[in-house]
């Protein structure tokens, strides 16, 4: 996936001189994970710059640059380090267009690794999409595959408004597929059907799609037909696709790595409860991380919902009606 991200950045930088990259170690070393490898060499240190180590500064700079017509793509190396930038995101980035009544805007992309499963130290494995989705005026996107990452990143950079682009960290190297480097963007604000089914709708996103797809396989062997929806766009949520699926299956299980409390799963469940109550044959279930900080490495895999937990939740849902 990391190569798909690099290709998308390369593509857009080659064609749009307004696109600039900034981040800690984004330049000379090509980013913490190699997403910007070789870009400083190609495009120079004005367009791909290493910044001082200060996340609030990075996003604040992006606001100013974007307000004057650039399209900054910022990299925050780990999700636990985005918090100093929240002031700038909440108070400025998300509402520049609104506060100036359309006069100025912030076409900024903030790339952040998302989630754990790599045995990293504290603060490197968080899933804070719900915190970000709660901020009005920004989009929150989370691809589940290299192809989706390529298309959605292009769309995000081209979008006239700010996008927080969450990159599932354990998929950086593990998820591989051939993609055509054709500069075609994928649609924002849309979720994607990954597997058609008739008994239950499984909604998930990011790296959790791996476990969710495995669960669907296991369930298929038990003659339970699961439809898998990749949310992709965490904010705004593509309600129509989800409602259509639940309308067909009558059951909903949401799986996410983030903690349960006020998580995005609750929003998906609320959408279905508000608009599709009559379609539900069983209560909605969520399979999530626990309401604790992400534990240190030795317990990390016990925190991230396992295939078994998803399968059990679906079995209970089927049993319930």
């Amino acid at each position: 996936m990391i190569e798909a991200i690099r290709m998308a950045l390369d593509w857009e930088m080659s064609r749009n001189r307004d696109v600039v990259i900034l981040g800690q170690d984004a330049g000379a070393t090509g980013g913490f994970f190699g997403a910007t490898a070789g870009l400083q060499e190609r495009f120079g240190s004005d367009r791909v710059q290493d910044t001082p180590l200060a996340e609030g500064m990075i996003v604040g700079l992006c606001v100013g640059m974007a307000a004057q017509g650039l399209r900054p793509v910022a990299e925050i190396p780990f999700m636990g380090f985005i918090f100093p930038a929240l002031d700038q995101i909440v108070n400025h980035l998300s509402r520049m267009r609104a506060r100036t009544q359309g006069r100025l805007c912030c076409p900024v992309v903030i790339r952040v690794p998302h989630g754990g499963g790599t045995g990293a130290p504290e603060h490197h494995s968080e899933c804070m999409e719900a915190l970000l989705a709660h901020i009005s005026g920004i989009r929150v996107v989370c691809p589940s595959s290299p192809a989706r990452a390529y298309g959605l990143l292009l769309a995000s950079v081209r979008d006239p408004d700010p996008v927080i682009f969450l990159e599932p960290r354990r998929s950086y190297r593990s998820e591989r597929e051939e993609i055509s480097n054709d500069g075609r963007a994928a649609p924002l604000d849309a979720c994607h059907l990954l597997r058609a089914g008739s008994d239950v709708t499984l909604v998930s996103w990011g790296a959790m799609i791996i476990e969710t797809m495995k669960a669907a396989e296991i369930l298929a062997a038990e003659e339970v037909s699961a439809e898998v929806v990749d949310l992709s766009s965490i904010s705004p949520i593509d309600r129509e696709t989800i409602l259509k699926s639940v309308g067909k299956t009558g059951r909903l299980v949401v799986a996410h790595e983030a903690a349960a409390n006020c998580g995005v799963g609750a929003e998906v469940a609320a959408i279905v409860a508000e608009e599709s109550w009559g379609d539900l044959k069983a209560p909605v279930r969520r399979v999530t991380g626990y309401d604790t900080p992400v534990p240190l490495a030795r317990l990390e895999r016990s925190y991230i919902p396992s295939v078994a937990r998803i399968v059990d939740a679906v079995r209970e849902t089927i049993k319930a009606g």
Binding site: P52, L53, H124, D291, L299, S306
Partner: protein, 349 residues
């Protein structure tokens, strides 16, 4: 002299140290350094840190523990600073100061457990009022100021000591901490450990300040520089700043210059904190090869024991995620705790 060269090493800093690279004293040594027994103690401890650090790095390379921030070349800064603390002072580390933490009584096993990703590594011993590891860079600066504020509020003659890497001096939290520490004359000492590099970014691209010690100026607190490879100089500088802090005269910033090129032969020869002190101790006749060999064996043995414990503990129950989140576990977490138990500890999938 003012800025690190782009290679990340520093020229010799004779005016900022107490021993030159050959282990010869520069001027008159401070009182504590005239007692060979105290210097030997510092030397022994730095060796202990070095042996531990080398093993931890090896374990990381072998993939047996996770990320481990090496303190190679920082031994004099860590040990010299920690040795300047009174037991009731408070250490506020970042993530790299394992040398200082070991001095404060944290066990090697606990350090290994933490970096191996085991929550039990945080149930550490040692000075129990010290703060834990701090990974989000620079954030600990404010905690140190807060600790100092607590001491002041209670009228206690105690001080806080914190470490900040050069990269972290670009963070807002660092400036905020310096500012309030100056404004309130807080009993806190900021040791900025400058190895010339924030990951791949050099100090000169982080700041146009001539020295990181200059950053103290705007806060109205004294800022000074010290050769961070020289344990005597560090002990003296931090000791003076702590005395000042405890006496109610306010905060200080000390920039300790260390090398990021300890793998390099030249750097080892010129800058290695252990080599320098060993040369001096030998010259005094306070250290010889027999003692060196015995010390190495002793340290290796201690590290062996810590490694053994780290990898032979019973598996950590999933309860560890829940048990210390609140003083008493709320009901919804009790439910989640039971669910987690049902699935047990899940290994890498």
């Amino acid at each position: 002299m003012n800025c690190p060269d782009p290679e990340g090493s520093f020229p010799d800093l004779p005016d900022l140290g107490r021993l030159d690279a050959d282990g010869r004293p520069i001027g008159v040594l401070p009182d504590f350094a005239r007692d060979p027994a105290r210097l030997t103690e510092l030397y022994r401890f730095m060796t202990r840190v070095r042996v531990f650090d080398r093993r931890a790095c090896a374990l990381q390379r072998e993939g047996r523990i996770g990320t481990y921030p090496s303190c190679l070349g920082h031994e004099a800064t860590h040990v010299g600073s920690a040795a300047a603390l009174a037991p009731e002072d408070c250490l506020v580390p970042s993530y790299r100061e394992c040398g200082a933490m070991l001095w404060r009584g944290v066990s090697m096993t606990d350090v290994l457990l933490y970096w191996a990703g085991d929550e039990r590594g945080n149930r550490r011993g040692g000075a129990l009022h010290d703060l834990p590891w701090c990974i989000p860079v620079g954030t600990q600066s404010l905690h140190a100021a807060g600790v100092a504020m607590a001491f002041r509020a209670r009228g206690e003659q105690r001080g806080a000591l914190t470490f900040i890497g050069d990269g972290a001096t670009s963070q807002g939290a660092f400036y905020e901490a310096l500012n309030v520490a100056g404004a309130r004359q807080l009993p806190v000492v900021f040791v900025v450990v400058n190895n010339g590099w924030a990951l791949s970014t050099s100090v000169s691209s982080q700041t146009a300040a001539k020295t990181l010690a200059d950053k103290a100026l705007a806060a109205g607190i004294p800022g000074s520089r010290v050769d961070g490879n020289d344990v005597i100089a560090v002990r003296e500088a931090v000791g003076g700043a702590m005395v000042r802090a405890r006496a109610g005269h306010g905060a200080s910033l000390i920039e300790a210059l260390v090398s990021s090129r300890m793998g390099d032969e030249h750097a080892v020869h010129r800058l290695d904190p252990l080599v320098r002190l060993r040369r001096y101790l030998r010259r005094l006749g306070a250290w010889d090869d027999v003692e060196e060999t015995a010390l190495s064996a002793e340290c290796e043995h201690e590290v062996d024991g810590a490694v053994h414990t780290c990898f032979n503990l019973s598996p950590q129950p999933t309860d560890a995620m829940f048990d210390y989140l609140f003083a008493s576990v709320p009901r919804h977490l009790e439910r989640q705790k039971r669910r987690a138990r049902r699935y047990g500890q899940i290994a890498e999938s």
